[in-house]
C-alpha cells in the first residue's frame, strides 16, 4: 500500500452542527454508498444515537477517491464521539488520524465541546481543515465565525471552507482539501507491528471486533497478536477494512485503518488506546497515551420488581460487553432491596445506560441519586473510597473527606455571563478566567466539585442561557471539602437510598428542600407520614404528609362491582411500582427527589 495515497482524518463538530450530514455527503460523493444504499446519517448505527443526534461510539469508514489530478486515494474517516463523557475515546480516535475537519455552524459559532476537541486535535498534532457549515442559512455570519476560528488556530479567514452539507455545495472542496492538506501517514511496514485500538464493539457471534490504526509494521491474517496493556494474546483470525460493512483483507500495513477479529470473548481485553503488536516480534514500546478509564459518577440501580434482579444482572452483563467503561457490583439497600452500584463516565453515559436497560431489555428500574467517589481519610490513618453515600463512615472516625474537582469550560454569548457566574458560585465554583473569543462570545472557566455538576447543572446552564451556553470539563484532581452526610427518615426509619453527601454550608437548606420535595412526592396514605432530614442524630428538617381524609366511592351495588374491582386492580398495579419503606409507600420519583428540586 502506497502511504502517500492514504489520508486518515476525523470530523470535529458540536451536536447539530452537521457532522453526520457532512459525512453522508462525503460517502456519497466518493461513491462509497450509492443513493439507494443511502440512509440518513449512516454512521450513527444505534437507534439511540440517531434519536439523540449524537454519536456515542466511534466507528470508521474507508472511501475510495479519485482526485482531479487523476490519482486514486484512500480516505479513512474515523468518527469520534461528541460528548464530554467520552473525552478519552475522542483523544484516542484523534491519535489515529493525521488531520481533522473542524465543522462549525456558520450561524451558531463555535461551542465548548468543539473547542476542547480542537485542543485535543492540536495536541495530537493534527492538520486542521476548518469548515463552515450551513452557510446557506439566512442567519449565517460566516465572516465573524471564520475570524473566531482563525483566532484560535491561526491562518486566514479566507482559507476557511464554506459548505452546505445539506445541499452538498462546497463538499468537493472539502475532499480536495483532505487530499492536499492532510499529511499522508508515515511508518515502516517492515518494523515490528504497532497499532492502536481506537474502538471495539462486541459481536455476539464473533466476539470483540477491534477497530485499529496501524502505525508501524504489517498485520497479516493469522498473526499471533498481543494487546500490550492488558497483556492478552490472541490470533488475528480475520482482518479487514471498514466499508459500509466489514471487508476482509489479507494484510493491513503501516498507515492503514481496519478491524481485527480474534475470538476475543471479553471486551475488557480490548481497551481503547491499547497497542496491538505481534506477540512473536513485539514492538519495543506501546503507542503512548493509554489510560484505564475509570467511572466518575455512581448510582444505585434497583429493579422495581424484586423478581427482576437476575434479569438486571444479565442485562448489565450484556451492556458491558459493548461498553468497557461500565462498571457494576451488587449492593443491598434496606429501602430498595437488591440492586447494583453502577459506575458511569458521566451523566450522558448514565442516561444512555438507563435508556438502553429500559428500551432494549424492558426493565423497569429505580435509579438513585447519582454521586461521585469520595476519598475519606480516617483518624486511624487509613483511607477508604466511598461510592455510595450510605456507606460514609461515622463523623467520629473521619479525618477529612476529599472529592473530585473538574475544570469547566463554558462558552456562552456574553449577555449570560452574569447568570452563569452566579450559577457556578452557587455550585461552590472557583473562578479561573474569562476570555472573549469574539465580541459576543466568551470562554468562561471555573473549577467546580464534580458532585455539584453531576445532576442538574447542565440543565440549569442551558436554561439560564436559553440554550446558548455549552459546557466541557476535565477532571483536575481531588480536594478536601467540608462535607456531611444528609440522611432522610420516614416515620423514623432511615431510608438509605435517599442519603446524600452535601457541603456543610448547604446542608440545612438542602435538608429543608428535600423534606419539602418529598412531601410533594409521597402521596397521602392511610396514616400520617413524618419526613425528617438529619445530619447524624440531629434532625434539621421535618415535614408531615397528612393521612387520607376520605376514600370511598359512595355506592357499591351490582353494576359497580367490576368497575370498582378494576379500579382497585389498577391502583394495585400502581402500588407495585412503589417501594415499601416500613409502612410507607414511596413512589419511585421520590428516590430522585433531589434531582427535581430545581434551584429556586
Amino acid at each position: 500500500m502506497d502511504l502517500q495515497r492514504i489520508r486518515n482524518f476525523c470530523i470535529i463538530a458540536h451536536i447539530d452542527h452537521g457532522k453526520s450530514t457532512l459525512a453522508d455527503r462525503l460517502l456519497e460523493q466518493t461513491g462509497t454508498l450509492t443513493q439507494r444504499e443511502m440512509q440518513a446519517q449512516v454512521l450513527d448505527s444505534m437507534d439511540l444515537e440517531r434519536e439523540r443526534g449524537i454519536t456515542i461510539k466511534s466507528h470508521a469508514i474507508r472511501m475510495g477517491y479519485t482526485a482531479p489530478d487523476g490519482k486514486d486515494y484512500i480516505l479513512n474517516l474515523i468518527d469520534t464521539p461528541g460528548h464530554v463523557d467520552f473525552t478519552y475515546e475522542v483523544s484516542r480516535a484523534l491519535n489515529a488520524c493525521e488531520g481533522a475537519i473542524l465543522v462549525v455552524d456558520a450561524a451558531q459559532g463555535i461551542e465548548a465541546q468543539t473547542i476542547s476537541n480542537l485542543y485535543l486535535a492540536l495536541e495530537a498534532d493534527l492538520e486542521i481543515i476548518p469548515v463552515l457549515n450551513k452557510v446557506d442559512l439566512p442567519s449565517a455570519r460566516p465572516d465573524v465565525v471564520a475570524a473566531t476560528i482563525t483566532d484560535l488556530i491561526g491562518g486566514n479567514p479566507e482559507d476557511v471552507l464554506q459548505v452546505s452539507a445539506k445541499t452538498g455545495a462546497g463538499v468537493d472542496a472539502v475532499l480536495e482539501a483532505i487530499v492536499r492538506r492532510v499529511p499522508h501517514p508515515t511508518g515502516d511496514p517492515e518494523a515490528p507491528l504497532k497499532a492502536i485500538i481506537f474502538d471495539s464493539v462486541y459481536d455476539t457471534f464473533r466476539g470483540s471486533v477491534v477497530y485499529t490504526r496501524v502505525f508501524d509494521g504489517t498485520l497479516r491474517t493469522g498473526d499471533p497478536i498481543l494487546f500490550m496493556a492488558t497483556k492478552q494474546k490472541y490470533n488475528a483470525e480475520e482482518i479487514g477494512v471498514l466499508k459500509l460493512g466489514m471487508q476482509p483483507v489479507k494484510e493491513l500495513t503501516a498507515g492503514e485503518v481496519g478491524y481485527i477479529i480474534g475470538s476475543v470473548k471479553d471486551v475488557h481485553d480490548t481497551k481503547v488506546g491499547d497497542t496491538v503488536t505481534n506477540s512473536r516480534t513485539p514492538a519495543a514500546e506501546a503507542v503512548p497515551g493509554f489510560r484505564d478509564v475509570k467511572p466518575m459518577v455512581f448510582s444505585g440501580l434497583y429493579p422495581t420488581d424484586a423478581d427482576d434482579f437476575e434479569d438486571l444482572r444479565a442485562s448489565l452483563d450484556k451492556l458491558q460487553l459493548n461498553d468497557a467503561a461500565l462498571t457494576y457490583e451488587p449492593e443491598t439497600s434496606a429501602a430498595l432491596g437488591f440492586g447494583f452500584r453502577v459506575g458511569f463516565l458521566g451523566m450522558l453515559h448514565m442516561e444512555i445506560v438507563q435508556e438502553r436497560l429500559d428500551r432494549e431489555f424492558g426493565l423497569d428500574i429505580i435509579t438513585t441519586l447519582p454521586n461521585v467517589r469520595y476519598t475519606v481519610a480516617l483518624t486511624d490513618g487509613e483511607e477508604v473510597s466511598v461510592e455510595n453515600p450510605s456507606e460514609m463512615p461515622g463523623t467520629g472516625v473521619i479525618d477529612e473527606i476529599r472529592e473530585p474537582y473538574i475544570k469547566a469550560q463554558i462558552i456562552t454569548p456574553s449577555e449570560y455571563i452574569g447568570t452563569l457566574m452566579q450559577l457556578c458560585q452557587d455550585r461552590r465554583g472557583v473562578y479561573v478566567n474569562t476570555q472573549y473569543l469574539d465580541p459576543e462570545r466568551v470562554d468562561l472557566q471555573y473549577e467546580l466539585p464534580l458532585a455539584e455538576i453531576v445532576f442538574d447543572f447542565y440543565d440549569r446552564l442551558k436554561s439560564v442561557s436559553r440554550g446558548y451556553a455549552s459546557l466541557d470539563y476535565e477532571f483536575i484532581g481531588e480536594r478536601t471539602s467540608n462535607l456531611v452526610k444528609l440522611d432522610v427518615m420516614l416515620n423514623g426509619d432511615p431510608v438509605d437510598a435517599l442519603s446524600t453527601i452535601v457541603h456543610r454550608d448547604k446542608a440545612y437548606y438542602m435538608g429543608r428542600r428535600l423534606a419539602r420535595k418529598l412531601k410533594e412526592l409521597i402521596p397521602r396514605q392511610l396514616f400520617e407520614v413524618a419526613i425528617q432530614a438529619a445530619i447524624g442524630a440531629k434532625v434539621i428538617a421535618r415535614e408531615t404528609v397528612k393521612p387520607l381524609r376520605k376514600d370511598v366511592t359512595a355506592r357499591c351495588y351490582g353494576g359497580d362491582i367490576s368497575r370498582k374491582r378494576k379500579l382497585l386492580e389498577k391502583q394495585k398495579e400502581g402500588k407495585k411500582r412503589m417501594k415499601q419503606v416500613g409502612a410507607v409507600e414511596v413512589p419511585q420519583e421520590a428516590f430522585l427527589a433531589v434531582l427535581s428540586m430545581g434551584d429556586d
Binding site: V552, A554, R555, G559, I561, K575, A583
Partner: protein
Amino acid sequence: MAGLYLHIPFCTQRCVYCDFYFVTTQRTTAPFVRAMEAEIEAYGREFGTQEPVETLYLGGGTPSLLPLEEVAHLIAAVEQHFDTSALAEVTLEMNPENATPDYLRGLKALGVTRLSLGIQSFFADDLAFMNRAHDAAQAEAAVEAVGAVFDDFSVDLIFGLPEQPFEYWGANLEKAVRLGAPHLSTYSLTIEDRTPLAKQVALGRVSPVTDETMRERFLFTMEFLTARGFDHYEVCSFSKPGHRSRHNQGYWRHRNYLGFGPSAHAFWKTTRSLAHRWSNVRHLGRYQALLEQHELPLDEREQIPPDALADEHILLSLRLMEEGLDLARLRDEYGVDLRLEKRAALADLERGGLVTVTDDRVRLTREGAVVADAVALKLIG
C-alpha cells in the same frame, strides 16, 4: 339463593350527578317491557332451576314511571320462569313525584314489599341544584305517603353537595328519621365521568367539597343515625332492626345475581373457582332489537380469575360493617390467607384504628369506613 335486578331505564329528566343508564325521551314503555319479559324467559331457561330467587329489585332509571300493569307483567314473568318459592323481598325504586296512594297500594297488591325512595334532600335549593323532578313539599309528602302503605322502605339522601350548608345535612337526616323511615341510604356526592355535574366541575362552575368536609359529614351521619337506633350495617346503609335490604346484602355477600335490562350487570359463580360477570348493552334500542331477534343483549362477559375473585370478596365484605370479612371463609373458599399474606398491613390497620380484628373477622371502624377503598387496597394490593 340468588337475586334478580331489573333495570328500568326511563326518567322524566336528568339528575346532574347520575351515571346510570336512562333515557328521557321514551313515550311508551310497553315494547321495553315485552323485551325484558323475553330476556327473563331466556335466562330462566338456563338459570331458573339452578337456585331459587330470594330477592327481586326493580331499579333505574325510574321504575315508578312504569304503569302498574307493566310492573305486574315483569313480576309475573319472573314467577313464571324462576323458582320464586323462597322470594322474600321485592323492592322498587320510587321517585317522590310518583308516590300517589293508588299507585302505592297497587304495587303492594302486586307483591312489592319494599320501596326505595329517592329523596336526596328535603331542601328546595339542593333539589334545584341536582335537577331533581320533585320539590321539597313533594319530598316530605312522599315519605309520609309511602309510610302509610309500606312498613319497609328506604330513603336515599346525598351529602356533600357543593355549597350545601352543614345544617341542611343534619336537617335532612333529622327529617327522614322523624318521618319514620326505617332505612336510610346515605351517599357522598360522587362526581362521575360524563355527567352534567362533571362538566360543570370541569368548566369551573362548581367546586366539589373537600375530602375533609366529606369526612366530617360522613362521621356525623354515622354518629347521628346510630344514636337514633339505626344499625350501620353497610358503609352507606343504615337500618332499624329487621329493615335491612336483603337484595343489596346479596351483592356484598358475593352471592349470585342476574341483571335484566339495558346496562344491567350479572354475577354468577358456578363452582368455587368458576365465576363470570357480564353486562348488557347500554342502549335501549339495541337492547330491544337484540331480544326481538332472540339474541341475548350482551355487552361484555368475563370469567373472573381466582385472585380477582378473592379481591372482590375482600372489597365487598369489608363494606359490611357488622359482618365484616370472614378470614376463615376467605382462606377456605378463596384460598387467600390474609393473616399470612398481609400480616403487617393488618397490624398497621388495626393499630391505626381503621379496622378491628376479632373472632377471625376484619371489620371497618367508623374511621375505616371513611377510607374503605384505601383499606381494601391495603389488603388486596
